[in-house]
């Protein structure tokens, strides 16, 4: 039986000053930069030392694919012994090729999930298991009802090309008020791919609730940076709550 997964999500943005340039890891609120938290490679090393289940590395810039971002992936893969999921403005198969070539195990497509041709090309080459679709939405998208939103998503035609679905209510991102779980059931009724929930998680009980309603994994960003909880501690707490979670390698 598969273990439930805790996935630290490391969001990065590029920076350039007169002394240096590169990527820094940030916290976001509603997907907008909120606070700089440090060096992404150091953060990945810290998570790896906690024997993390998987790491999600996302370039926040959504408008244009950044070739330098591939170098960051490349550097991370030099020491990483955990699975790596990578996303950030992947709009062409070539971008996916570059990310996989740099050492990623899976890629995330969010904004371009309606580009069926792109998804088909990636799925044919790398297999659907390598493709995570990030369903990013806001409270506003749900104003006409979540069934209506779901029908619109269904019409994009990505469900049979997804190896995993990541449901993210952007309005909840970075606010710690708990994740939006309203879409889990409706997506589950149409597809049997693993479901990941992110955005807004701030307590162990919220994580346990995600697993209770059938999510396979959760992504954690602000929670890990703003509290004294580590993945190791979370695992112990969740295990005590009866969650089927990996507590040792």
């Amino acid at each position: 039986m598969l273990y439930r997964r805790l996935i630290p999500k490391i969001v990065v943005e590029s920076f350039a000053s007169k002394d240096s340039k590169g990527f820094r890891s940030i916290l976001t609120r509603s997907y907008s930069p909120y606070r700089v938290v440090g060096d992404p490679l150091s953060q990945i090393k810290i998570q790896q030392s906690n024997l993390v289940d998987e790491i999600m590395l996302v370039n926040r810039v959504r408008s244009e694919f950044d070739l330098n971002f591939c170098n960051l992936v490349l550097q991370a893969c030099e020491f990483l012994n955990s699975p790596l999921l990578v996303g950030g403005a992947i709009t062409r198969t070539l971008h996916a090729d570059m990310i996989f070539d740099a050492g990623a195990d899976k890629i995330v497509i969010g904004q371009n999930r309606g580009d069926r041709k792109l998804l088909e090309n990636i799925a044919t080459k790398y297999g659907v298991q390598s493709l995570t679709i990030s369903v990013d939405y806001t409270d506003k998208d749900l104003e006409s009802g979540f069934e209506d939103f779901f029908r619109r998503e269904l019409s994009l035609g990505y469900l049979n090309l997804a190896g995993e679905l990541c449901l993210n209510n952007i309005s909840k991102d970075g606010r710690g008020e708990g994740p939006d779980l309203t879409l889990v059931d409706i997506f589950r009724s149409e597809t049997n791919v693993p479901i990941v929930v992110g955005c807004g998680i701030s307590t162990v009980n919220q994580i346990a609730q995600c697993f209770e309603i059938g999510c396979d994994a959760v992504t954690l960003s602000t929670f890990l940076s703003q509290t004294d909880q580590s993945i190791k501690q979370l695992r112990s707490h969740l295990s005590l709550l009866g969650v089927h979670i990996r507590t040792k390698n």
Binding site: F79, N81, L84, N192
Partner: protein
């Protein structure tokens, strides 16, 4: 020296970095000539069966691998790289495997389990083998696949239960395969890669 087959869709780099991290010399290769002095070969995972099969047959690596295996060179297949060691796969019926193992890969039943089988799961050792040296009889590893090799008593070294008991480690002579990703399975995975280097 470990020679890693770098098919266009593989995560050869992940395996390369894992071996480098272990202090074992490794090289990514893409054509038969580079295998001339190979002693240990890894066929990494990630990708689709049809694409990998076409790459191996068009590059003639299939012929080299056949000759090398017959001469006693050891081969480790990872994930899709393990499935390609078999006869064929339901994923791409028009393309063939390398036929080192008399097994066909089948698709998980999405009505019974979530597909793909993605994440960390238990591996239960069924038979001892040099590749599994130092591992507990039950250990966890990272999987990411939609197709599996069924359990076969004479070939399976370890099994994982996911609605169906499938082969998670397989061996026949000097050919071994693991369905999970040792390069991403932390300490347990590193042990397997190290065992292969020492085998």
């Amino acid at each position: 020296m470990i020679h890693i087959i770098g098919s266009p869709s593989s995560n050869a780099r992940g395996v390369y970095c894992a071996y480098t991290d272990l202090g074992v010399e490794a090289k990514i290769v893409t054509n038969p000539l580079e295998l001339a002095h190979a002693k240990k070969i890894v066929l990494p995972g990630v990708g689709a069966f049809g694409e990998l099969s076409r790459f191996l047959f068009e590059s003639k690596l299939n012929v080299s691998l056949q000759e090398l295996v017959e001469s006693g060179i050891k081969v480790l297949g990872i994930c899709l790289g393990m499935q390609i060691l078999g006869e064929s796969s339901e994923e791409s019926k028009e393309t063939a495997g390398l036929k080192f193992l008399n097994l066909e890969s089948r698709k998980f039943n999405a009505l019974e389990s979530r597909v793909p089988h993605t994440g960390w799961d238990q591996v239960s050792i069924y038979k001892n083998h040099a590749i599994l040296k130092g591992l507990s009889t039950e250990f966890s590893a990272y999987f990411s696949h939609s197709y599996y090799m069924p359990f076969q008593d004479d070939l399976s070294l370890a099994v994982t239960d996911y609605g169906v008991a499938f082969t998670s480690v397989v061996a026949k002579g000097n050919v071994v395969g693991v369905q999970f990703h040792p390069e991403r399975s932390q300490g347990n995975g590193r042990k397997i890669l190290s065992n292969f280097a020492d085998w």
